[in-house]
């Protein structure tokens, strides 16, 4: 086995040193009644080329594959990934290192994390961003828990129903065994969160709003923030499509206290939903309540600039059960990819790409309207929108799949009241021709 370098002579020599005759004698401290009976039921080992053939078989079993044009976002977006990113991230100095516990030989990881924190804070308009957590959904759950920690005695948090349904489900799972209550806030006919019932909820620590929300609608974050603060609660915003902040005001400008969301859009493949990237940021005064790793700038013994993990007194290995979170890792490589992506686009490129995504969706909406379909929510959007058709769209959807196009996500499973309506997403990877091909089939 090529990953196991020991020759039988070496094994014998090493066993002799440790005073054993056979390898299984090394396990003399394992009682008999704990032992594995027989051999683990696993397939026979595969050679590298057999495994490559197997990968091809699995790929062929994917009825929808990378050649399809997939007009679905809903928390996982197809953006063009520049060739530089897979090339650079395959450098094994990034890939095969671990947590930078020894900063002198981990400055590559540490500086790139510091850059990631900085670019993320600038993108979101916040003072501080952490070195990332698992994904958008767990980031939101952590943000709600953080809101409860900051507010101390309060026991409730509220979340807009226009937040991604999976994110709401994860938040509910995290909070379920606790003493805290999670309240859902409705959305209105414009697809935006309706806060008219907010004043009736007492004991409210924080309110979470997604923008652009699950329907692709850009919320009036400034207006919502004022109402939430007036109710004495912290204002949490979340996102699934950070590219939107290349065009729209960032959450910090709109008064958000904690901002969290999913960074997959920035250079990561969809990859069936993971590896994901939980982006997380807050205002300065809440830093010590923040979960997750932080990298800070310092100097070495010679006065040279360097970076280290810092403020770890918040974290589990020091604080144990009193830590701000149980999280002890971050999404390392995913943060480096996101930074590479943000750096490759730059401020000017991000603006241009965001505007192009917006324009594509505006084109789709107007083309649909010309065919008698319509955007359900008449509100500003970004690269997603919910479309309602005059006739059942399912047969059209099926026809289009055969032609290599996946035309949106049917919403009945997530919002029964929106059954038969489809959530569409168009990015720079979807050409006008593809949009026209979809619209041409609409009946």
């Amino acid at each position: 086995m090529r990953y196991l370098p020991h020759t039988s002579e070496e094994i014998d020599a090493m066993l002799k040193v440790v005073g054993r005759k056979r390898l299984d004698e090394l396990f003399c401290s394992v009682p008999d009644d704990c032992r594995y009976d027989g051999t683990m039921d696993l397939p026979e080992p595969m050679t590298e080329w057999a495994l490559t053939d197997h990968a091809s078989e699995l790929a062929e079993a994917m009825k929808i594959n990378h050649r399809h044009k997939v007009l679905i976002g809903a928390g996982s977006y197809h953006h063009y990934i520049p060739a530089t990113i897979p090339a650079l991230i395959s450098r094994s100095e990034f890939l095969t290192a671990y947590t930078p516990y020894q900063p002198e030989i981990a400055q590559g990881t540490l500086q790139s994390l510091f850059e990631y924190q900085t670019l993320t804070a600038r993108l979101l308009g916040m003072d501080v961003a952490n070195a990332s957590i698992y994904d958008g959904a767990s980031a939101l759950a952590e943000a709600l828990l953080m809101g409860l920690r900051i507010s101390k005695k309060k026991k409730k948090v509220a979340i807009s129903k226009a937040v991604h349904p999976h994110y709401r489900q994860v938040a509910s799972t995290y909070l379920h065994p606790s003493e805290y209550e999670l309240v859902e806030l409705p959305y209105g006919e414009d697809g935006r969160t309706d806060l008219s019932g907010l004043s009736e909820i007492d004991d409210l620590a924080a309110v979470a709003i997604q923008s652009p929300n699950f329907f692709g609608v850009v919320e009036d974050l400034e207006g919502l923030g004022e109402k939430i603060h007036a109710a004495g609660a912290l204002f949490i915003t979340t996102f699934t499509e950070p590219l939107a902040y290349g065009l729209y005001k960032n959450p910090g400008q709109c008064g958000a206290d904690i901002v969290c969301g999913e960074g997959q859009s920035f250079g990561l493949p969809r990859s069936f939903g993971g590896a994901a990237l939980g982006m997380f940021a807050c205002k300065d005064q809440f830093t010590r309540n923040m979960p997750g790793r932080l990298v800070g700038e310092t100097i070495d013994m010679d006065g040279k600039r360097g970076f280290v993990l810092t403020l770890s007194t918040r974290e589990q290995h020091i604080r144990r059960e009193k830590a701000t979170s149980n999280i002890c890792s971050n999404q390392g490589v995913c943060t480096v990819i996101a930074s590479m992506y943000m750096a490759s686009l730059g401020g000017s490129g991000l603006r241009r790409l965001a505007k192009q995504n917006f324009d594509k969706m505006e084109y789709l909406k107007s083309a649909m309207q010309a065919k008698g379909a319509r955007a359900v929510f008449n509100s500003p959007g970004f690269n997603e929108a919910v479309i309602e058709f005059k006739n059942d769209f399912k047969p059209v959807f099926d026809t289009l799949v055969e032609r290599g196009i996946v035309a949106g996500l049917e919403l009945g499973k997530y919002y029964p009241e929106l059954a038969g309506k489809y959530l569409f997403c168009v990015t720079e990877t979807i050409s006008k021709d593809v949009i026209d091909a979809v619209v041409a089939e609409v009946k």
Partner: protein, 485 residues
């Protein structure tokens, strides 16, 4: 020092991203727009972020230089205890990048994504076979996330029996994540002291266990690298009071094909795919922390899980007792693919052999260094061995000094100052992928460093001198935090 790989070389300086670039540069290809421009709502739009504009060469050189400041498994031996820094096979990367699999949107209907569902279904079965615990969720994104999922399952199990419990037993050797994960579920950790030989006694568990205690979280092999020989009796004591046993599988690399977790009495166990199953640690992630449970607890696992009906795979959501969801989608799928590729490459015999050799390597290091550094516990070790700096105290040399000097010799230092129960701990986990020659060279390096500590202790105190930077001022970093440039 001639035989050691550590040396100096030309190290390139590289500024922060925003200290370079010029407005108007672009580092990637953006298509020309083929649709009309439309004005966006002016009241909602902003100026866009203040990012530097960089060319493609700016970006490539930046990250290439940064990468050269890092030490990885591919650079050299990385005996970081408790982290299982084994070799990360390249074929796993190729496998995970298979375009049709990697491009899949996570919300497509099951019929369109049979290949990915097959990977999930089979991986669930493999992990079930390896642990002996047949119910498996792949959703948790890391070990600590798996622990949280496990604690949610504990809470759901006790709630289903109308049993109110608010405490949990955790040995003092545990990772800090254990108490932090339990606390998220409202459990107050009750610390258990390990016995004089580093092993948890049955009596300490029997004395602490009652019907207000949800169960125990136990790492086996424990963080001292020792097998908890009383595990079965401990599990029986916990079960007798209606509690559950959580097995932290962080150290599974020692015992694949050797122990059966179910036979040990473990009810719930997470695995760290980035440790035992060779997926790269990536400077901190992404990892994956699947959770394996007994048949009885399967109903509480997060939704969805992959199932097979006839010859088709599907995602099963209909589990009314489920704790819910812990991830936006299906976990870190790209990490799952790498672990799948590893298990398919290895097969049962090689996985077992990997554990055997991981333990052999650690036992060999323990034997060769036990006259050089003080062993914390002189018992048969599993995949890692723990020393302390007790013998160095008379030379005023600490574990930290030894670790930093090892950097100059070309090694990533072992884990230091963990586990907390050993003063000045030095925890060495070589893994099975290090060959005897390299291990011998490492042993010599440690011996030389320790010797140097007696003759030229300042060489240790000022180390490292060969790295890009000297020791960093962590106190200043924490006192005046600069977290954003």
């Amino acid at each position: 020092m001639a035989r050691n790989p550590g040396t100096t070389g030309l190290i390139m300086e590289e500024p922060l991203l925003w200290e370079k670039g010029k407005k108007g540069r672009l580092g990637m290809s953006i298509p020309e727009s083929d649709v009309p421009e439309v004005a966006a709502d002016a009241a909602l739009t902003g100026a866009g972020p203040d990012f530097p504009d960089l060319s493609e060469v700016d970006v490539v050189r930046h990250y290439t230089r940064l990468s050269q400041w890092n030490f990885g498994v591919d650079t050299g031996m990385y005996p970081l205890g408790s982290c299982t820094m084994k070799y990360n096979p390249k074929i796993n990367e190729t496998f995970a990048a298979t375009p049709a699999l990697a491009a899949a949107h996570p919300m497509l209907a099951d019929e369109y994504v049979q290949g990915n569902l097959q990977i999930m279904y089979e991986l669930q079965n493999y992990l079930g076979a390896i642990t002996g615990l047949p119910g498996v969720t792949l959703q948790p994104a890391a070990g600590a996330h798996g622990e949280l999922t496990g604690m949610l399952i504990f809470a759901a199990y006790h709630a289903s029996r109308d049993s109110k419990r608010n405490k949990i037993l955790i040995p003092d050797t545990a990772h800090g994540t254990n108490p932090a994960s339990a606390a998220l579920c409202g459990y107050k950790p009750v610390p258990l002291k390990s016995g004089f030989n580093g092993i948890l006694t049955v009596k300490s568990v029997v004395d602490a266990m009652d019907e207000e205690t949800a169960g125990i979280m136990i790492t086996n092999p424990n963080t001292l690298g020792l097998f908890e020989t009383n595990i079965r009796e401990i599990a029986e004591a916990v079960h007798a009071k209606g509690g559950l046993v959580y097995g932290d599988g962080a150290n599974m690399n020692a015992v694949m094909g050797v122990i059966n977790a179910a036979k040990c009495g473990i009810d719930v166990m997470h695995l760290n795919l980035h440790k035992t199953f060779s997926t790269p640690h990536g400077g901190g992630g992404p990892g994956a922390g699947p959770v394996c449970v007994t048949k009885e607890l399967e109903q509480f696992l997060p939704v969805p899980r992959a199932v097979k009906v006839g010859d088709r795979y599907k995602l099963e959501y209909n589990c009314p007792q489920s704790v819910g969801k812990v991830h936006s989608f299906h976990g870190n799928f790209s990490v799952l693919m790498r672990a799948y590729s590893y298990i398919r490459t290895m097969g049962a015999e090689n996985l077992k052999k990997a554990s055997h050799l991981a333990v052999l390597n650690a036992a060999y290091i323990k034997e060769q260094l036990k006259g050089t550094l003080k062993l914390a516990y002189n018992r048969p070790c599993m995949h890692e061995c723990v020393f302390s700096d007790e013998w160095q105290q008379e030379y005023k040399i600490t574990t930290l000094d030894i670790a930093k000097r090892l950097i100059d010799y070309g090694y990533h230092p072992p884990t230091i100052y963990f586990p907390l129960v050993v003063h000045g701990a030095i925890m060495i986990e070589p893994t099975e992928t290090e060959c005897k020659d390299d291990i011998d060279q490492f042993i010599e390096a440690v011996k030389t460093v320790v010797e140097e500590g007696k003759t030229d202790p300042d060489n240790l105190r000022k180390a490292p001198v060969n790295a890009k930077l000297r020791r960093l001022d962590e106190t200043q970093a924490a006192r005046r935090p600069c977290l954003c440039g």
